[in-house]
Amino acid sequence: MKHQYQHVAWAGMILLALLSGCSSKPVPHTRGVYMLMDTSGTYANELEKAQRIINYTLGKLNPGDSFAVARVDTGSFSEKDIIEKMTFDDRPSMANQQKRQFREKIDDFVKHVKSSSYTDITGGILQGIEFLNEKNPGKKTILIFSDLKEELKKGYKRDIPLQLNGFEVVALNVTKLRTDNINPREYMDRVEQWRKRVKAGGGDWRVINDLERMEGIL
């Protein structure tokens, strides 16, 4: 009888341990990627490279992951600037279908894109933060395909601190402007300013200019 109670006690303890293990908040294993595409000025000509990056990202994402591509224009803090957003289905076959649709949508956008006069990168990042926080994936990445030169229209307020805790911000194909060639410090300062801003927001910052080695993006 005593032994039976001992067994029951042991079983209870094991069950409790298991329950306590199960009741802890589950960590999502999905990944969320928000990509900003600069369509201002001459940078619109670089969009073919952006397409390559998008295709690479599509190939790397798994079922359950979220992906959104948005353009950077005069005012980017808007859902209207999101070209396509998708959370891939749990089933791999469906996810593949969605990836095909996604690619078609991007191809179509690139064909008919018109360049914008201003570059609101901050607005785009804020929109990206909102999107990814809503999706709540395990890993959040914001890709910025831009020369990082922000040009805001008069009246637009963008001196807002970025809340980038748990975010990874990757600047891609940060091209040098004509003025950068005259004074390289401008380029360095620009990149450094963004790095500081992202770090201040609690995020991680990386710059990838060599698009031949895209495996480092994700």
Binding site: G59, P63, D90, R100
Partner: protein, 490 residues
């Protein structure tokens, strides 16, 4: 005040201070010499005896483990030999049932054959008909001298002719009879052959039975040795158990490899069923589901092997009556078949998904539409994957056999390991105990070395004292002798 200042007895003269300290310490240590020696000896003895006791306990435990190992080995060996003897008896029973059950028919066949041969022999042994009775009379008449009579000559000539005729007739009949006899003897040949065949078959069966009985004798000898619990039997069983363990481990490693391939075959298509992004206790649900399927297959395989009485891991299944056991065989087989079919379809799904992935990646890389390239020999990989998906569950069924060997031999191997560990522990404890004992003696020597000066003084003083005593005794002795001599003279 620093430590250096404290120990400096004569300030400014460190050497003198050290010397003074040495003298003080020597004196103090000399005074405390006997209790210090006792303390050192006691401490070393306590440690020595304590460790010795621990070593003895460990050795006792090792002895118990070795005995338990022997018991386990002998029990396992007894069970194994009993199984083998049982199996041999079953075989003999089968042989007797199948071969010797037909023995009456065989005997009848043999006796019929013998009767036929006997009859044929009798028939073949019959003599040809004897020449007619008047032949002797003719022979007598033929001996009558002719004396030149032509009539007698004619009669004799006729008789001669008749005799010749009768002889040729008899010869012809004799030849005919011989021919008939040879024919009968020739007809006996197949009967002989048949009889020989039947007899050789019987001989083979009987030889088989004799071989089996020899095997039983051998197993019985082993069984007897095991029952007696001889060391030789235990050693043989231990070595056999170790061999079994290594072989079983090797085969299980192969089975794990097979399971891994099986897992990769079904893990990805499982995502289509349970989703690719859900997790269970930190593992992908699809992977967990794939593993569960493989484990269920293995369990079914175990039950199948158990129901077929190939393995004996679950006594409950072995104890089932034959009807229920056969039901269980069919049920487990049906489940295995169903699972194998599911795996085959999942493998097919995997192939489709791989093709889809490849097409998508190709289109993403080329940034063009999907070319829809279809490889002509693609069906080979599809068929191979499906075949593997179907065969692997059945192949994994046989894991039950090495698993049983592994489980049984593991007990022995673990026992041997534990006994070895205990032996080493006992040795180390004894070694440390002896080290403590000798360390105690060494420390006493070191202690005496530190107080060499007072000891030297003591020794010198004692030697002097001894010398004085000797002198005193000598002097007292010489005085006494002189006195006695004087007394004697007076």
């Amino acid at each position: 005040m620093s430590f250096t200042e404290v120990i400096m007895i004569v300030p400014g003269f460190p050497t003198i201070s050290i010397l003074l300290w040495f003298v003080i310490l020597s004196v103090v240590l000399y005074l405390a010499r006997i209790p210090a020696h006792r303390a050192l000896f006691t401490a070393s003895n306590i440690l020595h005896h304590g460790l010795r006791m621990a070593a003895n306990s460990v050795r006792m435990a090792e002895k118990n483990v070795v005995e338990r190992n022997k018991e386990v080995l002998l029990s396992a060996g007894r069970e194994a030999t009993e199984r083998m003897i049982e199996r041999e008896f079953e075989r003999i029973g089968d042989a007797v049932h199948t071969d010797l059950a037909a023995y009456p028919a065989l005997q009848r066949e043999v006796s019929e054959g013998i009767t036929r041969i006997e009859e044929d022999y009798k028939e073949s042994s019959e003599v040809p008909p004897s020449p007619p009775g008047w032949a002797k009379a003719v022979e007598t008449v033929a001996k009558i001298p002719s004396s030149g009579d032509s009539m007698v000559a004619n009669i004799l000539g006729e008789i001669n002719k008749s005799l010749n005729k009768a002889q040729s007739k008899v010869l012809s009949e004799y030849r005919q009879s011989c021919k008939q006899r040879h024919k009968l003897l020739g007809g006996m040949l197949p009967h002989w052959r048949k009889l020989l065949h039947v007899m050789s078959n019987m001989d083979k069966n009987i030889s088989g039975l004799l071989d089996r009985s020899k095997a039983i004798d051998r197993h019985m000898d082993e069984h007897e040795q095991i029952i007696k619990g001889t060391d030789r039997a235990a050693q043989m069983l231990a070595s056999s158990s170790m061999t079994q363990f290594f072989i079983a481990t090797f085969v299980l490693a192969i089975a794990i490899g097979g399971s891994t391939i099986n897992f990769h075959l079904i893990a990805r298509p499982m995502q289509e069923m349970v989703g690719g992004s859900s997790y269970l206790l930190g593992f992908k649900t699809a992977n967990v589901a794939a593993m569960v399927i493989i484990f269920v297959e293995m369990a079914m395989g175990l039950f199948l092997m158990e129901s077929l009485r190939i393995t004996r891991l679950f006594p409950v299944i072995s104890a089932l009556d034959d009807k229920k056991r056969i039901y269980m065989v069919w049920i487990t087989f049906a489940m295995l078949f169903a699972l194998a079919s599911i795996e085959a379809s999942l493998a097919y799904m995997r192939d489709i998904l791989s093709q889809d992935d490849a097409a998508l990646i190709a289109s993403l890389v080329s940034q063009k539409g999907e070319a829809g390239v279809v490889l002509g020999n693609r069906w080979i990989t599809t068929a191979a994957q499906m075949g593997m998906g179907f065969i692997l569950p059945f192949a994994l069924t046989f894991v039950a056999i090495p698993l049983e060997s592994f489980v049984h031999s593991l007990r022995t191997v673990l026992g041997i390991l534990v006994a070895g560990l205990l032996k080493i522990t006992s040795f180390i404890l004894r070694l440390i105990g002896n080290l403590f004992k000798h360390t105690g003696t060494a420390l006493v020597q070191v202690y005496d070395l530190l107080i060499f000066a007072p000891l030297w003084i003591e020794k010198t003083a004692r030697t002097r004292e001894k010398k004085h005593r000797k002198n005193d005794v000598f002097q007292t002795g010489s005085h006494g002798t002189e006195a006695s001599l004087v007394g004697g003279e007076s």
